[in-house]
Amino acid sequence: MIGDEIVPELRMRDIALLITFTLGFFMVFEYFLVWPEVNSAATNFTRVCTALAGLSAIVGVGNLTRTHSKNVIRRGSNWIPSMLLLISLWIPLIIGLFLTRKDPTYVYLYNNLYTPVSQAFFALLGFYILSGAFRTFRAKSTDSIFLLITAALVFMGNSPVTGSIWPGFQAIKVWIMDNANSAGYRGVIMGVAIGTIVTSLRILIGRETGYLAERRARAE
């Protein structure tokens, strides 16, 4: 394939890094300027990127179709569910694209087939909160002691029945959420912010290129 020789690949990669550098810093400095043409250009650029990202779902649908149809043809493992996937991919897709999302059949499929499954996945969290707490809240170190005591206190404070045993639980929970929680929260956010800024700068000046899959020298 064309890209595999060394020369064009270097050129294409440098073009990509140049685009990221120029448009990236343009978008950053636009934030500080009140300049109608620049501001509208920035908004248009955001709209184009949103359109591009939206359309890249085509790539996703293409991959799903290719992988699962190959699996059905080859009668590979789980080929029956793969057929179900292809059906539940292409029927709503055709309805959605040509008859729009407001079409009654699309709405019926969304409300009565998709929503229960999606809500059930979300509700799995209820079970996993329980097994996660049981499995990991063990007093192995001072850190984990603080972790499990705070969690237990907030859980107690959140269930009103403990209020009738001792109203103090609610007060403790409110104090923890307002004070102890925001102390650690603020420190981590500042760290994340500094990390995000420096990583973004590394990406814009082309030093952080792991995401472009540049060939990594063999780590001796």
Binding site: M27, V48, L85, G96, L124, G126, N181, G187, M190
Partner: protein, 223 residues
């Protein structure tokens, strides 16, 4: 008359919850349906946003946008199918936007906003307020010092990042429980629907399958 809607609700919900017992064919079909349907939904939403952003202006006579729409469509289809090298071009546009947004948000809202918040006066109206403000300021100071990477902190000063790590654990415990309550409320809503609507007919069916599976696996192990 048994309502189909709630029967489908029961089948869908219990098929997913059967993963808690073990991965099985019912769960797999529900998962594959979920992946397939949302794949379609993602493209329908993406197509709709692309239409409204780029194509509708053309119908109002602004032809520049039509060009961008076709270009965007062409970019994705042409570049992705070609090779890695070509696909970098559309990606570099999106990365430029995401990185710039990340930086702007991080500096203004996250960093400066939080630094400002950590600078409040330690003397407040009541003793409790002063204590709380001091706790928050000291806490966020120690927590931030935990993230110093290139200076090996030795000696007595090491207590500061150590306290910072404890504050992180307190935040993790508090947030785990507080968000946990919300998730449990969600779970109980679904469980309620399962019991109080026609979905209840699916519960015995699911239990039967699980019991059959347990017995079948036990006998297979003994043979």
């Amino acid at each position: 008359m048994v309502s189909v809607v709630y029967i489908l609700y029961g089948i869908g919900a219990l098929a997913i919850w059967s993963l808690l017992y073990r991965e099985n064919i019912f769960y797999r079909c529900a998962e594959y349906f979920y992946v397939g349907f949302y794949g379609a939904h993602l493209l329908v939403l993406g197509w709709e946003s692309a239409l409204s952003i780029a194509w509708t202006p053309v119908t109002r006579g602004e032809y520049l946008w039509g060009g961008i729409f076709i270009l965007a469509l062409g970019f994705i289809l042409f570049f992705y199918s070609k090779t890695r090298a070509f696909y970098m071009i559309p990606i570099s546009l999106i990365v430029a936007l995401g990185t710039a947004l990340g930086m702007r948000g991080a500096i203004h809202a996250q960093l400066l906003g939080q630094i400002g918040g950590s600078m409040s006066s330690l003397i407040k109206a009541t003793f409790m307020d002063s204590f709380n403000t001091t706790l928050i300021t000291v806490g966020s100071f120690c927590t931030l010092s935990y993230f110093i990477f290139t200076r090996q902190i030795k000696g007595p000063i090491y207590v500061i990042p150590r306290i910072g790590r404890i504050f992180i654990m307190v935040t993790v415990g508090a947030a785990y429980a507080n968000t946990g309550t919300g998730r449990l409320a969600n779970y109980s809503g679904i469980l309620l629907n399962l019991w109080q609507t026609d979905a209840v007919y699916i519960i015995p069916v699911a239990l039967a399958f699980i019991l059959f599976d347990i017995i079948w696996r036990k006998t297979k192990k003994n043979i």
